[in-house]
Every structure is written in structure tokens, then in C-alpha cells.
Symmetry: C2
Subunit: 700 residues, 2 copies
Amino acid sequence: MDARHAILFEPVVIGPKTLPNRFYQVPHASGFGSVRPRTQAAFRAIKAEGGWGGVCVEYAPIAADADETPAVGADIWDEADARALGLTAEAIHAHGALAGLELYHGGATSANGSSRAARVAPTQAVSERRWASLAKEMTADDIARLQRDWVRAARHAADNGFDIVYVYGAHGYLLTQFWSTVLNRRTDGYGGSLANRGRFWLETLEAVRAEIGGQCAVATRIPLHGDSGVPGAETLPGIEIDDMLALVGMADDLVDLWDVTVGSWPEDSGTSRYYPEGNQRRWTSRVREATAKPIVAVGRYTNPDLMAQVISSGEADLIGSARQAIADPFLPRKVAEGRLDEIRECTGSNICILREETFNHVGCVQNATAGEEFRRGWHPEKFPPAASAERPVLIVGAGPAGMECAVVLAKRGFGAVHLVEAEAEIGGRLRWTRRLPTLGDWGRITDWRSVQLAKLPGVEVITGRRLRAADVLEYGAELVVIATGSAWRGDGTQPGYPGPMPGTGPSLPHVLTPEQVCAGQRPPGPRVVVYDTDGYYVGPGVAELLAADGHEVTVVTTFAVLSPVSDETLEGDMLRAHLHRAGIRAVHATTITEIKPGGDGGGPWTVAGHDRHGDPWSAGCDGVVLVTQQASDDALYRELTGDPEALAAAGIAAVYRIGDAVAPRLLSEAVFDGHRLAREIDSPDPATPLPYRRERTELG
Amino acid sequence: MDARHAILFEPVVIGPKTLPNRFYQVPHASGFGSVRPRTQAAFRAIKAEGGWGGVCVEYAPIAADADETPAVGADIWDEADARALGLTAEAIHAHGALAGLELYHGGATSANGSSRAARVAPTQAVSERRWASLAKEMTADDIARLQRDWVRAARHAADNGFDIVYVYGAHGYLLTQFWSTVLNRRTDGYGGSLANRGRFWLETLEAVRAEIGGQCAVATRIPLHGDSGVPGAETLPGIEIDDMLALVGMADDLVDLWDVTVGSWPEDSGTSRYYPEGNQRRWTSRVREATAKPIVAVGRYTNPDLMAQVISSGEADLIGSARQAIADPFLPRKVAEGRLDEIRECTGSNICILREETFNHVGCVQNATAGEEFRRGWHPEKFPPAASAERPVLIVGAGPAGMECAVVLAKRGFGAVHLVEAEAEIGGRLRWTRRLPTLGDWGRITDWRSVQLAKLPGVEVITGRRLRAADVLEYGAELVVIATGSAWRGDGTQPGYPGPMPGTGPSLPHVLTPEQVCAGQRPPGPRVVVYDTDGYYVGPGVAELLAADGHEVTVVTTFAVLSPVSDETLEGDMLRAHLHRAGIRAVHATTITEIKPGGDGGGPWTVAGHDRHGDPWSAGCDGVVLVTQQASDDALYRELTGDPEALAAAGIAAVYRIGDAVAPRLLSEAVFDGHRLAREIDSPDPATPLPYRRERTELG
């Protein structure tokens, strides 16, 4: 271990418990909750095994009126829930770490759609609107009832092995709603003055501490500041830092661990596009003014040097991490063993959040094993030797899927894996994606694999060589993996309009693909329409690139908002504000079906189509970038598999296909696909994923 | 029974099985899937008990690449899944009905977010786009693999008690994708000619029939027509009726039951706003041209006379129902017993779909017990006598919650329930809602309760009497239920802007609430802005009312689309097309913060605020309707509960509050709230919902 990192491995006392080191996986969602208890346990245990001294589960709704269905939280409504969650505490303990549980009530943000309970809030008139409904204004009885629920849940958590019990207030949930000068308009003892707005929080802490204080550490999580100033970022109304430090002072005797965050969830989990590493420090560093108790702070930290500096400065006692602990559960061990170049750094793309929020199953673009520990039995650092490891393997294409597949095959003992890339550089679509404005950190996907590929003796990486079918047949490989990716179609094919769009063609200077723009081509004039039917990062990225180059850019999109997929990574509003500030115009819910010469006064070309109602729409321009659709580059795969005799003659036992060459998709899924093939290369039919273990409902 | 309905009770032979009558609950989602097997069993069994001769479960994904997470389907990936679903077959059989299972693959529409399998489609280039991703174009191996999956699932279904096994093709799922001339661009034996496009479907039917044909009836479900002509309705591209009737002819020998639908899911489950009862008949009646086999057709039928007519005409053999069977599981029995006035008619509001899609838990605006059979033990027709039935009850307010509460209390044996309404008519907000354009059928909520209230001896309904607190104290009731509802605020309070909006006031002729407009008030000039921050039916309804009256209406909404909640009831696109055709303009993602005199040339008043980027926005008008926010009318409740001594002196043991007086919310939830209080009136704390039974995951 590097001496400068030793400080990270000091134990930290929190109330009646001692954390073995300063690495702390803060509460974060996974989609597993208490309904997939063994999946949850395996997912958290791997972090304890990897050296995180404290490991928390996600938000744990304490009662039926904190129901978040269809999102999946770690419901702890009763003793049976707590027993299910106890499996996780036990699994964390097996590796010497402490287990934390985030007892939670969302108040007006809880959906209560499944439970059908009324949503609750300090004040109805300013409560969150959902499904055209408002919340119930809490009565004194409601306040007392929820505090009893919190105490009951704390008792169940303590009895089932949890060491750290949260009274969770961050991200604008119920406790913060009471604290907010905007969301709390009460005129009773729970509204108005600092003491009144803090009363619900402090009473709850007191009650929980009275119940389990001798047995467990009591933590609370607070949002320090409602608005960190990033345009478009959702704010927490009525939350200011000086005010919140006053709460820290008021509650300090009741708290063993202060877990501090900034702002709304999209701020706290700010992506690398809009928030630098350690962005939160300017606020979190101030908490020491108000308390001498241990503090845990997050900051999307991936760099151990910076982590050590944060601790040395005294501003925090623990390095809090959610996303980095997903990307590399073994970061602490790697730091301890000086294996810094093996750390998979989080890209800050928030694919983890898209996956757990949209699909109830966390995933990671860097760590394909995240969430797969129980159901597929995958370990991020252990790779069982393959039965077929003697076979020489040729992987065609060093994009995300190909790189990942090569790494995993080599770790499984394959001694001759050739990764052959047509371009001069590996990375596939990341070659140009990482050069788009704001997307630089996504290059970490390539960088980590590049370093590993160089270190693994079984792999040879060959760039600048485009293999044809004949080349593959002659290569000498027994197993062939086609990872040739996908390309943006230049013909304007889009949903509902399968044929080439009139006015497109293979080499028109005024009709470009994203790859062409990233390769340096520019439309022949200032006025550019970027037509986006894709809905994620490519259209906005190209638009920003062109705007930075001095073009007048209009993004025309078929969606009602720009880049709806970015809403699922918590970036949508920021992305739209960012583009607006860059002077990029947006036209929504509009379809382009033709590019034709002659202008509506706006340029030599006209893009024409229809608006959301089917009424005609058109605009003039100097050029168009078509971000309409990708196509799998599967020609090589088809040619090879179309001639089984040639394969047999060449001694090729199997040809597989992975990543975008199968179907253009999210980066995380392309990486997963390459990983999966390598993990299952010995199965009877490696092209088809093996069934995975699923948790079952008791049949009663 | 009325003789004209006798035809509905004839048995029908389908392959090796016989349905006891012609009432058939077609496959429809519930949110219970195979992960809540006892909830599912109880939900379906109640329909068998109520007389439906055939009862189906929802869509059953046959494999991991038909994964629909976070939506919950009846996954039948393996034998253990089938055993869980077998509980439902058994429960249906206990009441003498046949059990059906819809073996399903969504192809490119399956999300596969949890399983992480590639989505599959006949043709990648025209496959559905989701999360900026396209599907894998199926290889011959993929086709064979999915057919094996279908056969395996059929075997498991048969072995676990199902009588009817579907090869499910409707709504644009995988089989329809192969059949579509637009979505199937294959050049192999599975694309091109009728025979080729039908090959996948027919081969699958053959294989399933070979496996379980002697044991089970084989059904298939088809979409007859891709576009029924309702503006804005999603179409199924490349599906035409003559073509589809050719498929019926080609496959007729392989099928025991033809289950026929029209178009996309929003068409098939068309709401009462845009589709009349029996709308599908003009297409479904043509199926007889192509087959003599039994046919089941849906049509949101609620009227037994029309059902009998459909059967008598010979066009169908079974009355298919999803929504009506939710609204009244006992419809067949009520028809059989001539209790026609007890049938709860479906309103066609699709709240069932919002609830099961958004919350994974079906619910119904007419039948508060729907989905609550297992977890709360509620039966739609059985009401256990209450221990406190001797106590006189006063319910203040005859809106949805109050009416429902009165009905249930009376059915539980309460002998003196007074339902007192301030207005001249019962119904609460439905009084004016049902008079908005397109919302007439929602009045069935009032109508059914009105009929029951008149029949129940224990209830007295008193209208036109507004009770003050003193009146309640003097009333002579021991239990008081406050159901005073909510009202639209006229002060422009809206999310993020709690105070009164500048320019509003209590009696300004140019600033109106929805209730005022529905009561006949009109803005003093033609140009009206309807400002909608509610996002459901009120803003569009008021806009349409005013437009029909000759006003020039602009709806300004804070949302990116008009009425986003209507997307969850499958109505959004139709609603927006409908309003556009009515000449109503829409301004999206815009916030109004002030109404001020003087125009931008467009009228004597200006509404001003900001657009989606915070840039200033304004427009002139003659008047504004503020559909911004409701407020619970809880003054009476607060006054009564604020004086416990007065209550004690008056002999009032408890004061409860239900419906919108607690929190303004969806109609279904207000009805549920009234029902719940009446069901739990004897519990230790009736104001707080009792815990309900939850199904648990095996801890392994």
C-alpha cells in the first residue's frame, strides 16, 4: 500500500460500533429491496468482501404509506420483512464489515400506488403533485403514528443484525419536507421556527435512539443545500446550508454518524457530464463547523489520493460511495494492495440508476457483474478457468463488447485471445463518444480495459486491421467472436419510416451522420438541423459540438422533450438547460420525412415533415445531421455463418456475435453481452444466455 | 332470468373442453403475475365464482427474452413458475370454470431490462426503439428456440391445470410483428408472402397443438385490423382485416378458439371517452366469414341485452370481457338471477390499466374490492355484519367516497346511515365531471350507488342540506364520517408557487375555476386560456366545453404534453388529437405566474410567466380558467375534531374523514377510501388502514 493511503484504513468509532476502515458504501437503490433477499445479500456482501468497512442497503420504507411501487425499496413494514433483510446483514458481517439500514419515509414523494394509503405531507397546499393528486396534511396523530413506525422498524432492524440504523432525511423526503421553509407551512408546533421545523426530525431521532441506541449506531442523512447552482438541476426548496447546520447542532447529541449530501437526488448523484469529482466538498466540508461526530460525505470519488486528502483535511471521517462501489466493489482492497491500475473507475453516467429505476435491477457500464452476483453467480474478481481455454480465440472488433470479452476470456485462462480492431485505436463507438462535449469520463470504459488487456498475457491486441471473412477463415482461431458493432445509418431510416428518406444519399456534403461529424466533417454552412429520433446522448452531443464550432444548431426531435432517456439517468433537465445556454434551439414532437433543395428563407435546403398533430412542418438550413437510427454491422457474421463448410474446413468450431453487432443498445448492455459470452463459453449453447437463479414467492 | 338472456348461459365446446356458459374473461393484466400467486388466484377465482365460464390469467412471458420488468406478467419460464400459476387454475376450477393462460412473447416490445437478453424482432431496421436501442433480427435458430420455449411453456401450463392455452398474437406482439407487412422485411421463408409471414405463427400453433392438443383447448388471439380510424390512436402497421382473415383460414385446423381483438392495446381497450360500447363489432363480426370455430370477441360490453344480441347474430360464440369483469365479477350471476339493476357497469375510464401498469396492482373505480380479494380479504358481494351496526351514522357529503361508504355500511347491517349532501343532487365532483364532453359514462359511478342507496333499507339520503358543525353535533349520530370532498382553488396556487397568483381574486369575472365553468359561468370574451397544472381530465374537459361554446381556447400546461396522466389510461394521444381537431391550441412546458391587465394585442388581460427554460412568456386573452390545484374541504372535520368535549357531550364516539376531504386524488382512490373505512369500521383505529396480507419471498 502507498503510505499516503494509509489514513483510509484507520478504524472509526460510531456510537457503540467500530467501522474497520473509512470506506463506506452509503445507502443506494438496487431494485432488490426485501423481495429479493438473496440477490440483495450477495450484491452487498461483495462490497464487504472487497473491503468496504460499512455497507448499507437501500431506502427501507417503514410502513405502507411509504410505498414506492413499482420502484422496489427494502420495505420493512413488519418482522418478516426484517428477517428477509437480515440475510444481507449476515452476509455483510461474514466479511467483517458493518451493515446499515436506511429507515425511510418519502412523505409526499411516496407513491402509495400499491398500498393505496393517502400520501402524507406537512402541508397539503405545497405537497408534491402526483397523478393529479395531492397529499394529506399530517395530523398530530399521523406524526405520532409515523414515529411509532420508525421505532418499530428500528427495533426490527436491530434484532435482525443491522449495526447502523438511519433516520433518513435526505433528497427531499419527509423529514426534509418538515424542515423546508417552503414545504412546511404549518402553524402548529411542527412548523415555523427552527425548533418547530426540526421537531419531527429530533423527536424521531430521540425515539429511535431510546429504542436501539445502546445496540446500534444511529445515523441520519441530511441534504445540506437545496441548490448547487447547476442550471436545470432540480432544487430542494427551502433548504439552506446555514439553516441545516443549525439542525446538525440541535440534533448532534442524538446522532452517531452524520451522512451528508447536497440537494436533490439528481444533484447528489450528479453525473460526470455536469458535476466534477468532489463537487459537493464546498458544502460538505462545512459540516465540521457544527459537529465533532463522524461525518460521511459523498463526491463521486474515484481517486484514492483525493479520498485521502478529504480525510486528511478533517472535513470528513468516511469516504461515502454508491456508484464507485458498484463500479468496483474491490476498490478498498486494490488500494490496500497498491493495485491502483486495476481500479475500475466509475464513469458517472448513471446507467446504474437507469437500470435500477427503470428495470428494478441495478447494472453498471464498468462492472458487468454488478447485480449478477446471486442470480448468475458472477464475482467481479474471480474467473473460473474455462474448459475450452486451450482453444485459440479471435475477437473481431475492440469496442466495449469485444474488449470486455477479451479481458474475461483471458482471466478465465485462455492463452491465445486475439482482439483485432479495424481502426487505429480501440474503443469502438467510445472512440468518438468520449470526444463529445461533457462525455470525457465515459472513456474510462476503454481506459480500464486497455490497461488490463496490456497486462493480461493471454491477449494480443491488433489495431488497424480490418478482417474480411477470408481473413477470419485463415486466422487459425477455433473460436471466433464477432464484435463489429453498429453504425449510424445515413439514410434517415427512423421509426415508422423504414425506407431511405428522400433527399438522403451516401455522400452528400449537407447530410451527415454523427460519426462523420465527430470525424471532423462539417455541414457546408452555419445553419444546421440535428434530427434526433434516438433520444439519448448522441444528438445533444453532436449539437453541442457543432454549436461550439460556431454553427446555429436546431435539434428537431420526435420526442416531447429532448433526450428523454437522459431523464432516466437524472440528467434530462440539466442537459436541456445546458443546450439552451449554448444557444441550441429545440423543436419537439416533430418528424422530418424529407430533405429537399430550396429554402423557406432559411438556407439552401429544407427539412420537411410534420408536427405532433400531423400538420406540415418545415425549416430551412445549410445541412442536416441524422441521428435517426443505428444498424448492426453484422455482414461479417452473416457471411461466416452462412458457409458452415468453410468454417469446418478452417477448423473453426463456433462463431459467436456480441454487442451492437447483435443489436444496437446501451453501452452497459454491450459490455454485459461480451462479459456473458466469456463467462458462458463452455455452456452447451453459448449464444443463448443460461437461465439464471430467480427468487421465488412462497406458495403458502 | 329474463328469457332473452338464456342464450348467454349455453355451454360451448372448445376442442377437448366445454365452457359452462358464454361469459369469458379474456386475458388481461393485473400486476400480480406469477410472483403474487395467491393474490392472482383470489383475483381470478372471484370471477369464476361470479359466473364467468372461462377465466384467463394475464400475459405469460414464455422466456427470459420476453421479460417485461418493471411491468409484472405471469412469467412461465420454468416449471416452478407454472406451479405458482397452477394455484390460479385450481382456484378457478373450484367454481366450475375453465382456466386459460396466454403464452406470450412481445418480441421487440419486450423490454428485457431485468433479464438483459437482447430484444428480438423479425427485422431489426423496423423494430421498436426503446432506450435508444433496437432489437436483434431473429435468426433461424432464434425462431426454433422460441418455438421450443412455447412448447415447453404449454406443457407446463397443461401439467398445472390450465384448460385453455394461448398462442398469443394480439396487440402487436411477436406473432403480429411477423405477420405485419411493415414490421417483417425478411427475405427468408418467414417473410414476404402470406404463407411466409404466417409461417412462424402456424408452426408455433402446430408445435403447441402436437404437445398438448388432446389435453387442452388451443386458442390464439389476433388483432383484426391495425387502425380503426380514431384520430391519435396508435396503429398496428401492416395489419389489414382481409389479410388477417386469410390467416384465420390458414390456421383454422390448428385452433379451438379464436380470440379476436382490434388494433393496438389503446384501441382494444378503448375508453368510453372515444369508443362506444361494441365499437369493435364492425370488424369482429367478419371473422365468421373465415371460421366455424368458436369465436370470442370483446367490446366493452356492459349491457346483457347487447351481449345476447351479439351471440344471437352468430358473429361470436362467447362474450369476452376484461374491464366489465373487473367492475363486476358477478355480472353473469346477476344476469342469471335477473338482478340487472345490481350490475356495476364499467365506466371505461381505464383506471384499472393505470393502476396495474403504473403500480403493479389493479384497481377499479366501480369495484373497490378488485385486487383486494387476497390481501384484504374483501369480497365484492359479501359484507360481514359489523359489530357496531347498531350505532347511528352520519355521513356528510355524497360524493364518490361518501356514497360508497354509505352503501358498504348499509350492507354490513348498519340500520341508520344518513347520507347528507349540501347540493341538490348526489355525486360530488361527478355532478359536473359527468357533464364534461366525453365523460358521460363516468356518471355510472353515481348511478349504481344511487340505485343501491335507494334499495338499502338502512340508508337515508338527504340532499340540499349543508351541515355546519353545530348541526352535526345535534344530529344524533354516534359515528360521523366527513366526506366533504375538495374544491378547485381559484387563487392560482400551483406546484412551486404556493401563494395566490397575482391577478387572481375571489370574484373576478375573467378568472374562473372549473366548477364555475361547469356551472355555466363563461369568461367575458372569446379568447380563453385554460391553465392546466393538474395533468388529467379536468383541463381538457373544460377546454372542450368552452370550445364547443364558441370560445377560442388555448391550454397552457406546465407539462411537456397535454394531460400526461391520460397516457397512463391509454388515452393521451387520442385526447390530444381530439382537442386539436376541436381547434384548441396547446402551449407546453410553460408556467403562468401572473394575470395582469393590458394585452399583448390579444385581449384585455395578459397571462405572463415563463417557458421551459425560464425565459419570459406571455399571451393576451379575455379570461382564464385555473385548473391548477384542488384543496381538501376539511373545515368541518377540523372544527369537529378540534372540540373533543363537544363531541363527547353530543354522544359522538368518533369522527372519520374519507375521500378528497383527506387528500384530492383519483376517483378510484376516493371510492376505495370510503369502502375501506366501512370495511374496517370495527378495527381499533379505523382511521388508519389495517395491515394487509403480503406474499413473501422464500428465504432459501
